[in-house]
C-alpha cells in the first residue's frame, strides 16, 4: 500500500447500500433473512413463475437439467443419494446433488425466475424452496419453511452427506483434506507400455454434428478443415 494511503479514492458504504447488495446466504445460514413460506404458497409461485421452464413437477429438461427426481426416502435417512453410485442412472437432478439448503435458497433468491431474477419476495423464496422439497418428497404438503426450522430441514436433504473435500484442487490448505494431487502420472519417454487399440473414436454418424469443419478452419496454412458437409460415402 502506498505511503499515506490513497486520498480521494473510495467512500464509506451506507447501511442501505450494503443491505441492497449483501444478499448471500451461507451454509450456516448467515445472511438468511427472517421469514417463512408454505408449500401451498410455494405451489402457487411455482406454477405461476417456474413451471413453464422447469416443468410442473420440476422434471423438465427443456431449458435446464431436471431439478427434481432420483432421490429416495432412504437417501433422506442416510444423506447419501444412492443412485449417484450407479453408472447407468440417466440424470443428475439438483435435488440429487444439493448438500446445503442455503444454496437453494440463495440461488433462487438471487437468480430466479431466470428472466426476472431478484423479483421474488422473501416469503416467495421460502415458499418455492419448500415446494421444490415437497416435489422431491422431502417435505410434506402442509409444511411451512422458515428461518426457525430450516436447520432441521437441512438434516433431511438427501445428499447432505454426499460430498467430499478430500482433494488437492483448492488453492490453499485448511478447507480440503489433501495437499498432494490425487492423480500421479509418469513421464515415460521410450518404449512405453500403451494399449494398441483405440478406446474411443469419433463416430462417423456424428461427422457433421458440428457443421462443416472446412468452414471452421482458415483457408491457408499447414492444413485445411475437413469437408464434412455431405455425409461421408460408405
Amino acid at each position: 500500500q502506498a505511503k499515506g494511503g490513497f486520498p480521494g479514492i473510495g467512500r464509506d458504504a451506507t447501511p442501505k447500500e450494503v443491505a441492497a447488495w449483501d444478499i448471500d446466504v451461507r451454509p450456516d445460514f448467515k445472511g438468511l433473512p427472517p421469514g417463512s413460506g408454505s408449500v401451498a404458497k410455494g405451489q402457487e409461485v411455482w406454477e405461476g413463475k417456474c413451471a413453464s421452464c422447469h416443468g410442473v413437477f420440476g422434471e423438465s429438461n427443456q431449458v435446464f437439467s431436471p431439478l427434481v427426481g432420483g432421490t429416495t426416502a432412504d437417501d433422506i435417512k442416510t444423506g447419501h443419494v444412492a443412485s449417484l453410485k450407479r453408472t447407468d442412472y440417466p440424470a443428475r437432478t439438483t435435488l440429487m446433488k444439493v448438500s446445503s439448503l442455503s444454496t437453494l435458497w440463495d440461488y433462487i433468491n438471487r437468480a430466479m425466475p431466470w428472466s426476472q431474477p431478484k423479483s421474488l419476495s422473501v416469503e416467495e423464496v421460502y415458499a418455492v424452496t419448500a415446494y421444490l422439497l415437497n416435489l422431491g418428497d422431502i417435505l410434506p404438503a402442509d409444511f411451512t419453511l422458515s428461518d426457525k426450522n430450516i436447520r432441521e430441514v437441512q438434516q433431511r436433504l438427501p445428499n447432505r452427506n454426499g460430498i467430499t473435500l478430500d482433494h488437492a484442487l483448492w488453492p490453499d490448505t485448511g478447507l480440503t483434506g489433501k495437499s498432494t494431487p490425487d492423480v500421479v502420472a509418469k513421464a515415460c519417454m521410450k518404449d512405453c507400455a500403451v494399449d494398441a487399440a483405440l478406446t474411443s473414436t469419433m463416430p462417423d454418424f456424428a461427422r457433421n454434428a458440428h457443421g462443416n469443419l472446412a468452414e471452421q478452419n482458415r483457408h491457408v496454412g499447414a492444413q485445411r478443415g475437413i469437408n464434412t458437409a455431405p455425409p461421408k460415402a460408405p
Binding site: D22, P181, K186, T201, Q216, V220, A222
Partner: protein, 402 residues
Amino acid sequence: ALPAVQAQNVAPADGDPNILKLPEHSTSLGKPVASDGYGKPSKWESNVQRRPSPGLTQTTQASVSFAPLQSLFGIVTPSGLHFERHHQGWWDIDPSKHRFMVNGMVKTPKVFTMDELMRLPAVSRFHFIECGANTGMEWGNVAVPSCQYTHGMLSCSEFTGVPLITLLELAGADLSNGKFVLAEGGDGSSMTRTIPMSMVKSGEVLVAYGQNGEMLRPENGYPLRLVVPGVQGVSWVKYLRRIELGDKPYGTKDETIHYVDLMPDGQHRQYTSIQECKSVVTTPSGGQTLLDKGFYSVTGLAWSGRGKVKRVDVSVDGGRNWRTARLESPVMSKCLTRFSLDWVWDGKPAIIQSRAMDETGYVQPSYRELRAVRGSRSIYHNNAIQSWLVQESGEVKNVQAG
C-alpha cells in the same frame, strides 16, 4: 490417398501466374488510413470464429462459445475470439454507473466508482482462463470433432487491474480472521464464488478492467471482473459488483451443485478450483486434413494452474515414444505456453499426443491414469492427454488411445 490439393511445390512451366502477372495490389492504389477507427480481421479470416457446440446447452444465455484454438498462434487470444460462458446472458454495462462494494469483515464497508478504481496502482499480467468444464464432454468417450470443441473453453490475455488486497486494506479488512472472500457479479445470475484469502493476500487476485490493452469486452465482464489465476473461469466473476470478506466458505450454487466432480464412490468433490497441468496439440488437430506428406511443425498449448510449465513432451506414435518439445518464451506462471516439435510425416497413420509437466513436478495424466482415480463422470477437470489420429488420407480424427 492424400486429398486432391493442388501440389504447390512444382512451378508451372514459366512460372506461377500469381507472380508473373502482377496482382492488382502491386499496380494500383489501396485504401486510406483510419478506414476503420477500430480495425477488423481480414475478410479471408471469416472462418476463424468462436462457436457454440450444438446440443450442449438448452438455452443460448446459459451457454458456452468455444475459441477456435486450431487457428490461433502464440499465446494471446484475440479478445474478439475469447471463449464465452454466461449463466444469464451478457450485458454491456454503462461503466459510469457501475459500482464496486467491499463489505463483510472489514472496518468500514466501501463503495468505489470505476473512476476511482482506475486511479489506483494497477498491475498487468498474462494469465490463461479455462472453464472447469473444458474437455468435459470427453470424460467418457470421444464426443466432439475438433480442438475448438474439445479444448476451446480456454483463452489467455494480458489483464490489467488493482490487486484485490489493496481494496480490502482500504476498507480495513480483518486479515487475521477473514479466511475467504465471496465474489459476486452484477448480472442476473449474480454469480458467486468463494476464494481463499491466501490467494488474495499473495496479490495475484485482481479486480480487473483491462484485457489485452483495452477495456474488458462486454462478453467477458465489462467493466469489471475478478482475475483468479490458475483457478477455473467461473471464479473470475464477471460484472463484479461486490466482495465480502468472511470466515467460512459460502457454499454457492456453482461450487456445491455445479463445478462439483462426481467420484466413482458416488461422492461429489466440492470446491475443486485449480486447473491442473494440461496441454493440447492445436496443429495438426481433429477435423483438419494435412495437405501433403513432409515437414510439419507440431504445435500446441500447455498450461498449469499451479505455476509455470516446465516441460512438454510430444508423441507421434500414440504414446510409445516421446520427444521433448521447444517452449516459446516468456514462460509465465498460470499462463499459456506454446510448444512446438519438428515432424516429417511419412504418410502413414500416426497418433499425436502432448504431455505437459509443471514446475511442481505434476505430470499431465493419460485417460487411463486419470480414470483409474476419478472414474469418468466428473464433468469438470478433465486434463487427460489428448490424442489426434492422422489417417493415411491426411484427415485428423479425435480419438482416445493409450
